[in-house]
């Protein structure tokens, strides 16, 4: 599975990469801000994105809104220090599928990744079933 990791902190990217590796995900591309992610994502075609909020050049919320204009399906998890309820709502409205507040334990991040992928899989299967022609 191709995963795009968007965070301006290399330390946080390393911590998240270690969790992803424990889950068996090693096809991980890193981006250091929203602009970098926008330049890398189209060619990489990520199947999951972990996105920080506060970053230089382009913040995570702007990136998610921009990406969602043409990509409705890619599951996105916001991983951020922004913990206020209003911020979570803002992120969900922008198109984020799940939310992790820093600091987090490896177990919590694993859990959120797994539930996000599971939900995305269920949604994709439902969409495929809905578009398939009815059996005779």
């Amino acid at each position: 599975m191709r995963i795009l990791l968007v965070d301006d902190s290399k330390t946080m990217r390393n911590i998240q990469k270690a969790v992803l590796s424990q889950l068996g995900h090693t096809d991980v591309l890193e981006a250091c801000d929203g602009q970098d992610a926008l330049s890398k994502a189209p060619a990489f075609k990520p199947e999951l994105m972990l996105v920080d909020w506060n970053m230089p050049n382009m913040d995570g919320l702007t990136f998610v809104k921009t990406w969602r204009q043409n990509n409705k399906q890619t599951p996105i998890i916001m991983v951020t220090t922004e913990a206020e309820k209003s911020r979570v709502i803002e992120a969900i409205k922008a198109g984020v599928n799940n939310y992790v507040v820093k600091p987090f334990t490896p177990d919590l991040l694993s859990q959120r990744i797994q539930e996000t992928l599971q939900r995305a899989g269920v949604a994709a299967a439902a969409a495929q079933a809905a578009s398939a022609p009815a059996a005779a």
């Binding site: 902190s9 330390t11 390393n14 506060n54 970053m55 922004e82 913990a83 820093k102 600091p103």
Partner: protein, 167 residues
């Protein structure tokens, strides 16, 4: 400075250090930093804006910072390397972000972190805002949180006040 601006930082640093590093924090008595106050070797700085304005600094000695970064990153980085500065920046980011979420009824934004390195450096702050130092003892050494913020909400004008009946 009101305690409502201090308690969130105490709660936040305890949460960040225990969650990310399993490192317990013992908070000592906060005090107002004198004008010629203590300097440090490593400072992670975050600016706050919105309903609350000012800055928050995590300050360490070189040794303490190196010990904490080693725990946080799972490997040792020398002070002055880019990875070391990145880790310090992320720690102050998490502590400040966690604290601002605990400010009741205040909408606050935080800046991207900056890190200053240099033995016994001194940071110049806004002169109209006192700096409260919260000393935090850990097994890695003492970490000081320096909180220099003030309420920046616009006071209600008489025109905003509800009308009252005149006798």
């Amino acid at each position: 400075m009101d305690a409502i601006y201090i308690k969130p930082f105490i709660a936040s640093i305890s949460n960040v250090f225990s969650t990310m590093m399993q490192l317990p924090v013992t908070v000592k008595e906060p005090y107002v930093k004198p004008a010629e106050g203590p300097s440090s070797d490593v400072s992670g700085i975050i600016g706050m804006s919105g309903d609350v304005r000012g800055s928050v600094v995590l300050s360490f000695s070189n040794t303490t910072a190196e010990n904490i970064v080693a725990l946080f990153c799972g490997q040792k980085y020398g002070a002055g390397t880019p990875d070391f500065a990145d880790a310090i920046g992320e720690l102050v980011n998490m502590v400040s972000g966690g604290a601002k979420a605990l400010f009741k009824d205040r909408k606050v934004s935080i800046s991207c972190p900056s890190v200053v390195l240099g033995v016994n450096h001194i940071l110049a702050k806004q002169s109209d805002v006192p700096t409260v130092v919260i000393p935090c003892a850990t097994d890695c050494g003492i970490v000081n949180i320096e909180v220099s913020i003030k309420d920046a909400r616009t006071p209600a004008t008489p025109a905003d006040a509800p009308a009252t009946a005149q006798a």
